[in-house]
Symmetry: C2
Subunit: 237 residues, 2 copies
């Protein structure tokens, strides 16, 4: 039977600049109540703890709830939309999101967190350490919480991947009536990030989840450019 | 431990106009290998089988792979973007998606499927029949596969809900450092639909999944307008 299970990894404390996140994740996942990990598991790690471990923190005025707004343009290559305090930008990575991904939540008062410089690299480092430490081949997704046009609410998406496909191309696979499907490219990394978000819970502040049971064919080398749509293909910028 | 599990429901055959989908789902979920269902489970049912059961099928020229395009404008209130064969429209329901949601995949050759007229009502009917037949209170999501701007690949989202929140408002909940979060509205119905997609598999053609373990507070009355962003709040149309 086709089945996936997702759970939040307990016991990960506050992450600080210089922490080796791969070791912390490997420690937490190596035994009860979270582990052991198995080959083919996918670890979903939230951007915030990656940014903290990598020192992507900038001092801001702690008394000003909009203090991080001054950083938004520095982190952007383009302002996409602006309405009042809401700024939608395109980041250097090609993501289109609010405030260039800069935010204050779950960060020590007086600091703002920037996105990692290269979340694929961050994901690969965690993947490599987990493999070296625990002897299991896992996929790793760095996730962040983005809004989207036309629909209310936020969903978690992938901003970095290692060892797990971004998009799976089902073109050419017969549908259930045996005909060849024209095109179905499924953004599995984003769907896995969303499944993980359901168990991590923003307010509980658990920054890592395990997703077990994904199709083994999705466990392959990849990078975030599988997911970021090139401007020339995009009808909405 | 916070944990969710999702599995595809086996044994649901081809759905035809006039079929009572709630009974078919209740039968499939009432025993091995899929059941029994429990209070708080969420059933995710793909749009295609809802449309088939409700007779939302239109004859088209079987020899023309673009035959459904003639239906797209009828189902739209507005053309949002057009490039070559790709038409992005706003539907009568307020969804913005390719081809007004009209498509040919997993439909008998010579027919196109339209979106259900009211997917909330479709979801409520399934929920009510499952409750009456099996004595369990479940949430039901009708899901469809949509593209999105800026990111490649498709993800499954909710187009109808019954007994499960569309968006959960975490405004005012303290973050992990004890501060009040400014705003985090999580589109949990879309995230649950995405988690279900991971197990349903387009080509396998399994149209129903069960997601177990969602936060019991999310099991409440709702409708799709929790998710559809009103035009006046939208920066991208």
């Amino acid at each position: 039977m086709s089945r996936i299970t997702a759970w939040a990894v307990e016991g990960i404390g506050e992450i600080r600049p210089g922490d080796q996140l791969g070791d912390i994740v490997a420690d937490a996942c190596s035994g009860a109540p979270n582990g052991p990990l198995e080959d083919g598991d996918v670890l979903v790690v939230t951007q915030k703890v990656v940014s903290k471990a990598e020192g992507r923190l900038v001092p801001v005025d702690a008394s000003d709830p909009l203090s991080h707004k001054v950083l938004v343009e520095d982190e952007a290559v383009r302002i996409v939309r602006r309405r009042g305090d809401l700024i939608i930008t395109e980041t250097k990575h090609g993501f289109i999101c609010a405030n260039s991904g800069v935010d204050l939540s779950n960060v020590e008062r007086g600091y703002a967190a920037l996105l990692p410089l290269d979340s694929d690299r961050s994901a690969r480092r965690i993947r490599d350490i987990v493999r070296a430490r625990l002897g299991v081949n896992v996929g790793v997704i760095v996730s962040d919480t983005f809004g989207r046009p036309w629909r209310k609410g936020l969903t978690d998406v992938a901003i970095g991947v290692a060892g797990i496909a971004g998009v799976v191309d089902l073109r050419g696979t017969p549908d259930s009536l045996g005909r060849i499907m024209q095109v179905t490219e499924v953004a599995v990394a984003d769907e896995i990030a969303s499944a993980a978000e359901l168990v991590m819970g923003k307010s509980a502040g658990i920054p890592v989840a395990v997703v077990r049971g994904v199709d083994p064919e999705w466990l392959r080398e990849s990078d975030i450019n599988e997911i970021v749509r090139p401007p020339q293909e995009d009808l909405f910028r």
